[in-house]
């Protein structure tokens, strides 16, 4: 593997966030009853005429500009002709020789190095229907609800050199799309899909190797795993003196391998021609400038600002800004509790785990910035320990009530009163004579053990600092 270089280009299909389809008024809602969201336009019934959804177009232009692309002077649509049961019109409205935008780039940061991944083209098209196969009966079933949902195809140049770079590119692309609010990028629901072109070549070789096209990767992990597997497969072929065949391969998640997709004997011949039912589009320079100015702060700029303004490390800033909701939550919390690093730790630690576990986003939960600020304030004021804070966190998420309230109702307030602690300490010393001896023999660990025992007896409520002080004094005095 070390003697070879991997070359990767990615093609992302992004479902744009609209209420209605790209050329008709049918709903884009996910999970509707089969074939309940179609009309003469998206079914391609004779005489029906498509009209472009303005929102989908604006989303596309915004994305193109955020990816530093040039917008085409005259934008037009084309028909891509092919026969497949998921395509009721027998052609897909897409863009061929004049994509909406071209020549852009996305700067990724990987292993602390910045790298520009060039974007070849960005174009708008319609999605196809959904097929379900019943191989046992030799039948397929079709739901056309997805037909005509707006898709943005974003094609990169083969600029990535490792599966990790590929995954970093996709992650950054997803962040940008979410910041722009043009897609929810839900890979499981298929609103972000990704195909890859991958080839390998001996290090130092100038020309590209024969590439394979990979499909069916439905998560970031799948993308990374599929690319790693395929790179190794190709290197192995070359090592054995065999050659890579240009073909389309499917990622088999269960087996963890890529498999040859049945090739059609006839190569694709899409016979593109201009879509006569849609008129051309132009966006004048002024309008482009206006949209550019309206773009929100994007992840990279925000990351930079977070390091400069809040003194966060690159890693923390990166984790926080990858997700727009999290970055907003962070800034809202800062307004109430001015300790950026503490907030960052909680957001990327315990809070991230809870969100992961529940497969949800922070905006969808009942946990609010005021809750986190209050929780951190309770710790700072030594009202509760960090451990108790972690313990009540899931409850705040679940109930959406204030941490103070939970601490009060459950009696979790830290015990700082020396008198109250003394009786517990007495018990612990009585029960652990051996540790006292150990301590006196110079085993300092015995003290830590005794503090632990007090913490246990008070269910974590004792203030460990005060316990430590009292215990030390008692042991030292006693000796």
């Amino acid at each position: 593997m070390k003697d070879y270089e991997i070359v990767i280009g990615l093609e992302a299909h992004v479902q744009l966030l609209t209420q209605s389809k790209v050329f008709c008024g049918c709903s884009t809602k996910f999970g509707l009853a089969p074939n309940s969201s179609t009309c003469p336009v998206c079914l391609g019934l004779p005489g029906a005429l498509p009209v472009l959804n303005e929102k989908a177009f604006l989303h596309a232009i915004k994305t193109a500009l955020a990816l530093k692309c040039r917008i085409q002077d005259i934008i037009k649509f084309d028909r891509k002709n092919y026969y497949y049961p998921d395509l009721p019109k027998n052609f897909q409205i897409s863009q061929y020789d004049k994509p909406l935008a071209y020549n852009g780039y996305l700067e990724i940061e990987h292993n602390n190095a910045k790298k520009k991944i060039r974007i070849t083209r960005v174009h708008l098209e319609e999605d196809a229907g959904k097929l379900m196969h019943d191989p046992g009966k030799g039948l397929s079933y079709i739901d056309f609800n997805r037909t005509g949902i707006p898709l943005l195809e974003i094609v990169s140049e083969p600029d990535m050199r490792s599966p990790d770079e590929g995954s970093a590119y996709l992650q950054d692309l997803k962040s940008i799309l979410q910041y722009l609010k043009v897609s929810d990028c839900n890979m499981e629901e298929g609103s972000l899909r990704c195909d890859a072109n991958i080839s390998v070549r001996p290090k130092g070789e100038g020309s590209l190797g024969v590439k394979a096209e990979l499909k069916n990767m439905n998560s970031f992990k799948a993308v990374r795993d599929a690319l790693s597997y395929e790179a190794e497969r190709q290197v192995e072929l070359l090592r054995k003196g065999e050659s890579v065949v240009q073909e389309t391969r499917l990622w088999n998640e269960r087996k963890g391998i890529t498999e040859l997709m049945r090739t059609k004997e006839e190569t694709h011949d899409y016979r593109y021609f201009p879509e006569p039912d849609l008129v051309p589009l132009t966006v004048d320079k002024k309008e482009i400038e206006k949209i550019k100015r309206s773009l929100p702060e994007l992840p990279q700029a925000k990351k930079k600002r977070f390091t400069a303004l809040y003194g966060l490390g690159k890693y923390d800033a990166g984790v926080l800004t990858r997700d727009m909701e999290i970055s907003n939550f962070f800034e809202e919390t800062i307004k109430l509790f001015d300790k950026p690093k503490k907030i960052a730790n909680w957001l990327s630690g315990d809070i991230a785990s809870i969100l992961n576990e529940r497969k949800t986003t922070i905006g969808e939960t009942r946990f609010k910035p005021a809750h986190l600020a209050e929780l951190l304030e309770l710790i700072r004021a030594e009202e509760i320990s960090g451990k108790i804070a972690k313990e009540i966190l899931p409850e705040i998420f679940r109930l959406g009530i204030s941490p103070k309230e939970i601490v009060r109702s459950k009696g979790l307030k830290q015990i700082k009163d020396a008198g109250e602690l003394t009786s517990v300490i007495d018990d612990v010393l009585r029960e652990n004579k051996k540790s006292i001896d150990d301590y006196k023999k110079g085993k300092k660990n015995a003290l830590i053990f005794l503090v632990g025992q007090v913490m246990r007896k008070t269910k974590g409520r004792a203030n460990p600092k005060i316990v430590n002080e009292i215990l030390k004094k008692r042991l030292d005095d006693g000796g």
Binding site: T18, Q19, S20, C24, G25, C26, S27, A33, P34, N35, S36, S37, T38, C39, P40, L43, L45, V51, L52, N53, E54, K55, A56, F57, I74, K76, N81, Y83, Y84, P85, K98, L131, M132, H133, D134, P135, K137, G138, L139, S140, Y141, I142, D143, F144, R262, E266, D269, R271, P274, P276, L278, V279, P280, L281, T282
Partner: protein, 100 residues
């Protein structure tokens, strides 16, 4: 005068296959001539000097930027949609399997 030129058999069969049309032997030779006629006629356009003419991607050259607002309209009922289906299963269109 009809153009005597023909298109080769392979090309006609390829085009027919792309359009999912079955052609008889006679039809293939008929279309070899007829398609050549059409292409010959189209080629005539190439004789025109279009140096100063912008490509026409649409016949309504002056009509641009026609949009609809992003609002949901009523769709057809699945029942109506499936009236056109040669075969159905529940509310799905049913077709012969298309992958292995």
């Amino acid at each position: 005068m009809p153009n005597k030129k023909t298109i080769d058999e392979k090309t006609v069969k390829h085009v027919a296959r792309l359009s999912r049309i079955n052609l008889s032997k006679e039809e293939v030779s008929l279309y070899q001539r007829q398609l050549a006629d059409i292409l010959g006629y189209i080629n005539k356009l190439n004789e025109l000097d279009t140096k100063d003419t912008l490509p026409t991607s649409h016949p309504l050259g002056n009509l641009k930027n026609v949009f609809r607002k992003d609002t949901v309209k009523k769709s057809l009922s699945a029942e109506d949609v499936l009236k056109n289906a040669p075969a159905r299963k529940d509310d799905f269109f049913k077709v012969p399997k298309i992958i292995e």
